[in-house]
Symmetry: C2
Subunit: 216 residues, 2 copies
């Protein structure tokens, strides 16, 4: 374990395909910084819930936001355990054998507990970070939130207590004898990209597409 690694525990340790496990902050943070939709897991009683939402990383925390009356955010503020997972899919791994098919992906799984950010300046800064993580440059261009809008919004900060990443890259790995089979094998890349911006039907046609939306 290096100084900058998260400690391996019963909670965050990768047991299946252990060689794909990573515990260093650089790897985990890079996955969190590339994604913008996370899946938040929490349980109420014995019922688990997994909810997709926008997020940002800030230092060693994950920030999420929503309505001030959101059940998820208010339950998290009570101190229940939370798991936040970010998955980036890079490709479908086509082995010669059905058994060795796989995905190329990078996932980060974060464990911790969260608390509401109540102080106004910190709250607005957290909202700005979530916005910038979604689309850099947009926050400055948009009409900033009013006090009323901030008050009906909750922001939760989840300091990362434990975390791990799991990464698979590269070619399929087949059984030695299967390499002789006349079956195409390789990786089908999965590409996620922004398309051409679609103007709001009510947009004044004089307003140009901003530079930060130039997607090609």
């Amino acid at each position: 374990m290096k100084m900058n690694d998260f400690r391996k525990t019963e909670t965050n340790q990768i047991k299946r395909q252990a060689a794909r496990g990573h515990y260093d902050r650089e790897t985990i943070y890079s996955i969190l910084d590339e994604g913008y939709v996370c899946h938040v897991g929490f349980s109420l009683g014995n019922q688990p819930y997994v909810i997709p939402t926008l997020y940002a990383r800030s230092e060693n925390s994950v920030l999420i936001h929503g309505s001030a009356v959101s059940r998820m955010l208010n339950e998290i503020d009570k101190g229940i355990e939370v798991c936040v997972t970010v998955t980036l899919v890079d490709g479908i791994v086509l082995a010669r054998s059905a058994f060795h098919h796989s995905m190329n992906y990078r996932s980060a799984v974060v464990f911790g507990t969260g608390r509401l950010i109540k102080e106004m300046t910190a709250k607005v800064e957290a909202l700005r970070k979530i916005s910038e993580n979604l689309l850099a440059g947009r926050w400055e261009d948009s009409r900033k939130p009013t006090d009323k809008e901030i008050n009906v919004t909750s922001v939760i900060e989840i300091p990362i207590r434990e975390a791990s990443a799991k990464i698979r890259r590269g070619d399929p790995v087949d059984e030695k004898k299967d390499y002789e089979l006349p079956i195409w094998a390789g990786v089908l890349p999965v590409e996620t990209r922004f398309g051409k911006p679609i103007p709001d039907s009510k947009l004044d046609a004089q307003i140009p597409v901003p530079d930060y939306l130039e997607t090609e």
Copy 2:
């Protein structure tokens, strides 16, 4: 509630943005059938976990698979509550106000408990369905699993007990007075597609790319 809807309960009911909630099987199944990576949520003690994995829908069940020694699959087989979420991101919704930024997305959240499929024929058929949901046509083309490979694989079937979908589509919705602001607004589409297949470095160059991989 229509005959073909899932019943609204405390567990599956969409409370935030209730107008975006859907409970009919057609909508929920169509989201499950379009995705291929789900996020499985479960708790051990009070610790939630959210794990990405491949899946398929079969009738009113979700099928997932993994190693026979997978902790997740073996815990699910004990009958703990499971939540399976599939999220399809369609676009980033850029409102004039920071407050009204949003995502266009379709998500399905499924609740139930799972059990291992132990009978060999049913197990292979479930594996075939997961493979076909990932890439139709591939199963027939690949070397089928041996009994040994099937025995070291677990397949879990989770009958869908409760479910809901949440969908947002279309233009941003701004405050009336904000429509006069000189700010570009609209939707930045998010497109996920397959790229050009990358042959395995050990592939016999005589083997052609199969038709079901033609991505353009």
